[in-house]
């Protein structure tokens, strides 16, 4: 049996500190069959790099401005393997939950990085993919309900404050966030979204709809005796029987 040719790993380094990237760059230079395709100083650059350059592996810091490592993973985790590189050991469990390849604690040795990279190479050889579920949960773990929703649009990241979301609609494998007159698609289930949002604000009015209560103008009956939620902007959404019960309970009738 002939061994498969060694896989050339394409790596992106994500860390907001120049020196932290420098030490990784230095270590990787001594490893065979790796190529640094991008160095990113923040999460937005990381998302852009993943979308445009399709690296096999992210070496990802956790504490970064604007988007932390877990939020980056929430946005791109389906497309790339991740090794966390951080000075904080308290995220190790969360990293394990999202099936990160490894978790390096700064400062670390060249050998430790080589070990993590070879583990990533093994995984890539087996064609393993990261789990889709739980990424958004990990991104906001320990912080109660989400204050904002992150949606990736190719290389761009939309940061949508939860207060501006009118409703969320399930669409096959995606959910659609309606905010400020625009629709934002994200690969996630409506149940996951529901769990991440404040239940005092968002109510599941239908199998496919999660409504921001502040947008509700009134509930009407249509010609076929179905209940319809009319929003402040005039948009009409279906309300199921159990959805109406939840709505009534929330509004206190």
């Amino acid at each position: 049996m002939i061994d498969a040719p060694p896989l050339r790993l394409r790596i992106a380094i994500v860390d907001d500190e120049d020196l932290a990237r420098a030490v990784i760059r230095e270590y990787l230079a001594d490893l065979p069959d790796v190529e640094i395709v991008a160095e990113c100083a923040n999460g937005f650059e990381a998302v852009k790099a993943v979308a445009e350059l399709r690296p096999d592996l992210l070496l990802l810091d956790v504490q970064m401005p604007k988007l932390n490592g877990f939020e980056v993973l929430d946005l791109v985790g389906r497309d790339v393997a991740v090794i966390f590189v951080t000075a904080y050991d308290q995220y190790a469990l969360r990293a394990f939950d999202v099936h990160a390849v490894d978790y390096l604690l700064k400062p670390f040795s060249a050998e430790r990085l080589a070990e993590a990279v070879s583990r990533a190479r093994e995984r890539a050889g087996r064609g393993e993919r990261l789990p889709i579920r739980g990424l958004a949960d990990a991104a906001r773990a320990g912080h109660g309900f989400a204050g904002r929703v992150l949606v990736r649009d190719g290389p761009r990241v939309h940061v949508i404050p939860v207060a501006t979301v009118d409703y969320v609609q399930a669409q096959d494998d995606y959910v659609c966030f309606r905010s400020g007159g625009k629709d934002y698609l994200k690969e996630q289930t409506l149940a996951e979204v529901e769990a991440s949002l404040d239940p005092a604000r968002f109510v599941r009015i239908h199998r496919s709809y999660l409504l921001n209560l502040e947008r509700l103008a009134r509930v009407e009956l249509d010609a076929r005796e179905n209940r319809i939620a009319v929003l402040t902007d005039g948009r009409r959404l279906p309300v199921s029987r159990s959805g109406y019960q939840r709505l009534s309970a929330m509004l206190g009738h």
Binding site: A22, V23, P65, K106, P107
Partner: protein, 356 residues
Amino acid sequence: MHPILGRATWLASYVAVWTLAAILMAAVPTWLGLAWVDSLVLLVPLFLVYSFACLSAWYVCRGFPLRSGVMLRVLASCALAALTASAVWLAIARAWITLLSVTSTFAPAAPRYEEQLPLLFAVGVLLFLLAIAVHYAWLAVEAARDAERQRFELEAVTREAELRALRAQLNPHFLYNSLNSISALTAVDPAGARRMCLLLGDFLRSTLSVSGHNEIRLADELALADRFLDIEQIRFGPRLRVERRIDPTASACRVPPLILQPLVENAVVHGIAGLLNGGVIRLDIARRNGSLSIAIENPCDADTSGADSGAGGRGVGLDNVRRRLAVMFGRDARLETRAEPGLFRAQLDLPWSLHD
């Protein structure tokens, strides 16, 4: 209410002592040829009643604490209280004799007892004065015990604050990140790596040495904060900028150690580190209205996410500073913070006192 009334055993012993006193007192009339039984029947109830009257000495003692300068007033009050109490007692005794005279056995002796009433009055005054003396002694013991407990509590709070401060200074993540920077510099800039080792050594040494003192010169605290900023400067590069406006006369002012450094660290970790392009930390130290004013202002991420902006949270270091200020200065010092979108400001005011 008098504390003795709440404790059964104390109350029982107290009543027993008074009963014994009554029995001893009953011996006096028997020398005059009066019957033991009559004396006991007359005196034991009277002494028991007076034993409770004497508990009011507690209020006298608390109302007139022993202080130099007011001793005459205290003595006068005590004497007045003793005379009043004994006078009331005398009236009760007179009434009690009259009541007992109804019985045929006591009636013949009643006039002879009445003759002895002035003696009873004198005894009453003395007993009340004795009660006052005992109460003063007891209150003094209690006060001493309270003072000691308070001192222990204060010491415990101070120690704990020091420990917390020290632990906060030796923030492990600060160390890990610094070591990681040194690890990077060894390859690309060995001289820089050495400089960072020296800075880190200096910072750790001064942190450990000042934390044992109650107060240090502001100049030393500033040097410590500068050392910290120098190290963070190497990590953050041009993202971290600092503007200082420091009144030179303030450098000799006395401050608690490690009171400024947590504010600076806070500005870096929760401010600069959260900004893509960093920003300027403004440090303003001045003498104002007889107090030392330290203001630190830093930009921070306006739409701070629901996600992590720093482990430990903004509050811990600042709470620690507040607690230490409260222990050391009470209301004479304060730390006020104001968070606006995109800007965080901490204002620290301390009593101005110069180092000699």
